[in-house]
Symmetry: D2
C-alpha cells in the first residue's frame, strides 16, 4: 500500500436510477481508490424506490485530494439529487452521553470505547443527577450536572448544547436518560441523537415498560435503540433484541435481565452509527451492519 | 414397573400456603405413585401469592383408583381452595383446527401430530373457506366448510360447536383463522382456545400486523400464541418468538419469514397445552415447558 | 419497465484488484440493465485477497443478448482471472432429494418448494429404502428406490446419476441420507450437493451426533448444512443454527427438537443455493443471504 | 413473616426412589419452613436414574435450628444415599478470579457483583501477568501477581491456594486465564472451579479456538462455561451460547464479537453457581436456572 494512504467512507442516498454505481465506481477508480467494503441497497426503479450505498476505500489522496474527490462527487450528486457524505475513517467520533441514575448503559459505552471495540470516545457526560459523577471521574471524562425542572429545562438544554459544542461531540447518546428532550434540542442534532428504549418498540411505549411487560405476561422482553425525533419513542429504529423470560421472572428480574439486553443493543447501535453504517430513510433505517 | 401402570398428570393452582407440597406428596406416596416429573412455582406467601404445581407420575391404581385418588385430592382441595385437574397422560387430546386460506399452521399441526411430535390428533378442521379441503382430505381429516357472513355467523358458530362436540375435541386451535369469534363461542371453551397472532404482542394488535411492522421499520418480527378471551388479542400469552429482519425485507418477505415463526410458535404452544404444561393465572400463564 | 424484460443474476469470484466493480458496472450499464440487488465482498488487495460479487438485474436483452453479455463478461474475465456465472432468475432449479427413512427434511422441502417459499422444484427423490415412497406419491414426485449394499453401491450410484440427468436436476440435497457417497459421485457434482448434518459441526462429526451431544451434556444442539466434498463432514458450511436444551432433555428429546432445527437450516441453505447466493472460497462460503 | 427469618437453600442428589419429596417436605414442614422455590428433576426409577432437588425456603430456625435441620436431613440421607448441602442464602459467596491479560470477563464479573446482579463478591484476583492490576485497584480488590513458568508453576499454585484460603474464597473463576492448572490444584477445589472456554465445546478444544473457527468457516461462534476437571476442556458444561457470524468477519472480528458472548456466558454460569442452582451428575450438569 502506498504511503499516506487513508481510509475513507462514502455514503450516498438518492432516488434509484440506472448508472449510479458505475458513476461512483468511475470516480473512485480515477482516484486510485481501493474499495475494501461496498454495501448497496436498492428499493428498485419504481416511482419511490430509493438507493443507498456505503463504500469504504483506501486512497492516497494527498493534501488536496479530499476536496477534489468531494467536488467530483458533487458533480454527480446534482443530476442524481443525492444526499452524500465523505468521512475519514480514522477520525473517531466523539460522543456526548446523557444519563440519569442507571449506570449500565454508560458503563458499557465507557468500556467498549476505551477498549476500542467501539471506534469512538466519550467526550463528555451530561446528567440531571450527580450519582454517576464518580463513574465519570474513574474514566477521567468531564461530567456536567444539569438538573432539570420545569423551570430549568430550557436553560439546562442550552447549557448542554454549549457543552456538546465545546467538546466537539458529533453524536449524542441517551443512555437511560429519563427526561424528554425539547423539540428544539432534538432538531438541533438531526439523526445524531440515539436513545435506548427499554422495550421492544412499539410495544410498551412511554414510561415504565417493564411494569407494562410484566402486567401483559410477555414471554420475551426487549430493547430498542432508535434515533430521537420530536415524536416520542417513534423515531427510526436502529437495532432491537430480546431475551426470553417466563412466569418465574418478577418485575425486578425483568429489569435485571433487561439491563443486559439494553446495554448490548445500545452498544451495537452506537458502533454502527459511528462507523457510518446507518442511513435514515423516512422513518426506517438502512443498516449495513458488520 | 408393575403391570397396569398408567401415567397421570396432576395440576394444582391455589393461594400459596405452607404444607401444600407435603400434603400432595403424602397422597401420592400412599397410592404408591412414582413421580417422574414435578414442577412447582410459588409466588410467595404474601397476600396474593399463588402456588402452581404439575406432577407427572406412574401408578397402578386399578379400576377404582382414579376415583379414589380424586376424592383424596378433593379432601385437601377444599381447605386450600385449590383448582385442580387429574389427567391420564396416555389419552391424547383431540384438536379442532380452525383455518381460513393460509395453510402453513395447519400443515405444521397435521404433520407434527401425525409424526407423534405433538401428542394429540387433529379430529376435525373447520373453515370459513373451502380452499384447504384438499389438504384435509390428504390426511383423511373431516373438513367442515362453514362460511361466515354477518347473517350466518351465529349459525356457523352453532354448527361449529356441534361438530366440536360430535368429534369430542377438547382443544380448539385458531391456525390463522381470520374471523373474530363471538363472546358466546369463546366462553363456551374457556382456556381451551389457542390463537396464533402474527406479531409480537402487544405490538401490532389488530389486523395486518406485517403491514404495521413494515411501516414501523422494526428489526425483529414475531408471533404470539395465546389463549383466546373476549378481549381481542389480549388473552394470556403462552409462547412468543421472533426472527431478525432488516431493511432488505419487503412486506412479502416479512410474511414469508413470519410463516416459519408462526407455525413453530403455535406448534410449541399446542404441544405444551396438550401435555398439561400450561396453567392460567389471571392474564398470565405459568408454563412448565419441556 | 420495457417488455421482454428478464431478471438475471451474475456471480463473480476472482483475486481482488482495483477496478472490477467499475468494469462490471460499465458492461451492465451499456446493456441498459437495472441492478435490483448488488452484493459484494472483498478480502482486500493483499496477496491472497479474493473478491466476490452477486448482481441481480433486470434487462431486456433480446434473443441474442445473453450471449452478447456473456461474451463481454468473458472479455474482462480473462485479465482478472475471474470465475463467473450468468443465470436467468426465472428458471427455477430442479432438485434431486436423497433420503433414507426420516421424513422431516424431505417434508419441509416438498412443502416450501410447493408453496413457492423456495424457488425450486423437487424433480425426483432417490432413497436406499422404500419407506418414503408414499410421501413422494402424495406430491406426485418420481421416487427411485436404489438399495445400497457393499455389492450394489457402485451400481446404485450409477443409476442415481442417470436418473439425475434424465430429470435434469441441477442440485442434489441429502435430506438425512444415511449413506456415504463415493468420491466419484461427489466429484461428478462439485458444489452442487448439499448435506444436512445433525450437529453443530465440527462438534460431533461422524455417526450418531445426538448420542454424542447427549453424552457430552451440551446446552445447545445444532445442525449444519454444507456442501459435500470427498472429506466426510468437512465441506464448506452454508448455514448453522442451534436450539437450547437442558438436563431434562433425554436422547429422544434431542432428536425431536433437532428435527425442527435440521429442517429449517437445510431449507435456508437450499433457498440460498438455488437463488445463487452462495459462493465457495476454499473451504469457506460467502453467502449473500436475504 | 416472623422475625429472625432467614432464607436457606437445600440441594439434594441421590438415586431416584419413591418418597423422597414427601420425606423432605415432611422435615421442612415440621420446621415451619415456607418453600419459596422448589425445583426437582428425576431421571426415573430405572436402574441408574438419579434424583436432583433444589429448595429455597424461609424459616425462623433460631440459633440451634440449622444444626437441628441438618441432623434431620442426615437421618434420611443415609437410607437414600443422598448427597446434600444446606446453605444460607444471604451469605454471598466470595470469588477468586484468575486472569491473564484479557480484561473483558473480569470486568463483567466486577461490574455485576458490584451492582448486585450476581450475588457474590470478588475477594481476590490472581494473575500470571501484572497487566490487570490497575483494574483491580480501581475496584479495590487485592491483586496477586504469580508468574508461571515451568519452574515456578508448582510454587505459584501453592501460593494461590494459600491466598484463596486466606481470603476465604469458595469459588474460583478462570476468566480467560491462559494457563493449565495442575491436577493437584484442580482436585483441591472439586466442582468449585469454573472456566470460560472461547468456543462452543466440544468444537475447537485446545488453544486458539477462534483461529480454528475462522479456518473452518463456521456460521456461529460460541463460548462455553464449564467446571474444570483434570481432563482439559472436558469438564461438565454449565452454560453455552453463540453469536451469528458470516464471511465478512475476519479473525479479529470473531475475537471481538466472541468477547461479548464469553463474558455473558461466564456471568450467567457464575450467577447460577453462587445461587446453588447447579448440580453435577457425572459429566453433565443439572441447572435450575432462573
Amino acid at each position: 500500500m502506498p504511503q499516506n494512504t487513508d481510509r475513507y467512507r462514502l455514503l450516498i442516498a438518492c432516488s434509484d436510477r440506472p448508472g449510479i454505481i458505475a458513476a461512483v465506481s468511475d470516480i473512485l477508480g480515477r482516484e486510485g481508490a481501493n474499495i475494501t467494503a461496498f454495501d448497496q441497497y436498492s428499493e428498485g426503479l419504481s416511482e419511490d424506490g430509493m438507493f443507498f450505498m456505503r463504500a469504504e476505500f483506501d486512497a492516497a489522496l494527498g493534501a488536496t485530494g479530499p476536496e477534489r474527490l468531494s467536488s467530483q462527487i458533487q458533480n454527480i450528486a446534482e443530476p442524481y439529487d443525492m444526499q452524500w457524505k465523505l468521512a475519514l475513517a480514522r477520525r473517531p467520533q466523539r460522543l456526548c452521553v446523557f444519563v440519569s441514575r442507571e449506570d449500565h448503559c454508560l458503563n458499557e459505552l465507557l468500556w467498549q470505547t476505551q477498549r476500542g471495540d467501539i471506534a469512538a470516545s466519550v467526550a463528555l457526560i451530561i446528567s440531571n443527577h450527580s450519582d454517576l459523577k464518580a463513574l465519570a471521574d474513574r474514566f477521567d471524562i468531564p461530567f456536567y450536572h444539569f438538573p432539570v425542572t420545569a423551570q430549568t429545562k430550557a436553560d439546562s438544554e442550552a447549557r448542554a448544547i454549549r457543552a456538546i459544542r465545546e467538546h466537539d461531540a458529533q453524536t449524542i447518546v441517551l443512555a437511560r436518560y429519563m427526561q424528554v428532550l425539547s423539540e428544539h434540542f432534538v432538531s438541533t442534532f438531526p439523526e445524531r441523537i440515539i436513545n435506548i428504549h427499554h422495550s421492544f418498540l412499539p410495544a410498551f411505549v412511554g414510561p415504565k415498560p417493564y411494569h407494562q411487560a410484566y402486567a401483559r405476561g410477555v414471554k420475551l422482553i426487549g430493547a430498542t435503540a432508535h434515533y430521537v425525533t420530536a415524536d416520542l419513542d417513534a423515531g427510526p429504529i436502529i437495532e432491537q433484541d430480546v431475551h426470553r423470560v417466563d412466569h418465574r421472572h418478577q418485575l425486578d428480574d425483568l429489569k435485571r435481565l433487561g439491563r443486559q439486553v439494553e446495554r448490548m443493543v445500545l452498544a451495537r447501535a452506537v458502533d454502527w452509527h459511528v462507523s457510518d453504517r446507518v442511513l435514515v430513510s423516512g422513518n426506517r433505517t438502512v443498516v449495513f451492519p458488520f
